[in-house]
Symmetry: C2
Subunit: 121 residues, 2 copies
């Protein structure tokens, strides 16, 4: 019976609204919160999230910049209700970023740059 309830609870939380994903916590490999999801970049046709745009401001002292992470860098942690990124903070700080008042082109060249950085570290 207890097992059934656990399964039900997990199923209920399987999805999140695009309206509510902003602000979801992002944790580092040591379990400390390092930032939060600002928004997701979603494929218009296939409906697959490509990147989570993360803000480290207030946690890593990285100001207000946005850091786009390839989706496969994030692992959902049900118990904490947030995402874990299994990278060294120093590597994340050096990753591609953009200012809040700018917007990348999000074309294939830009996405390759993001994938290239995280694929190489």
């Amino acid at each position: 019976m207890e097992n059934t309830q656990t399964i039900d609870r997990n199923e209920t939380r399987e999805t999140i609204s695009s309206e509510k994903v902003d602000g979801t916590a992002v944790y580092g490999r040591d379990g400390e919160q390092i930032g939060s999801v600002h928004h997701l970049m979603i494929g218009k046709r296939d409906g697959k999230v490509r990147h989570a745009v993360v803000s480290y401001g207030g946690f890593l002292g990285m100001g207000e910049d946005y850091f786009p992470l390839p989706w496969n860098e994030l692992t959902y942690d049900e118990s904490r209700g947030g995402y874990v990124v299994n990278r060294d903070v120093a590597q994340l700080k050096e990753g591609p970023r953009y200012r809040r008042d700018e917007e990348p082109s999000w074309d294939r060249a830009y996405e390759s740059q993001l994938t290239g950085y995280y694929g190489a570290i």
Copy 2:
């Protein structure tokens, strides 16, 4: 050369922000706008959009209710910058809905109900 430019333009628009997807137009099979995307329901773990929650208010005279459509009911139309739903309006009007001041459980039973309705029509 013209071909190359077309490809570049499409690539630039391949993704949309979770912040900006709300309000994207939804067209019926006859090409008329029938509603707009209110928000998306996204799998927290796999990052795949499961449902688009659509409002027909003002178009089909369906008031303020929300109608969750399985993602595979929507086909992105690049030229119009919106989604086409290849269903009869009468079928959409009879689909599962909920009031704005309510929120479904979004558990597996509810998702099966949605899939069942659109799989059967």
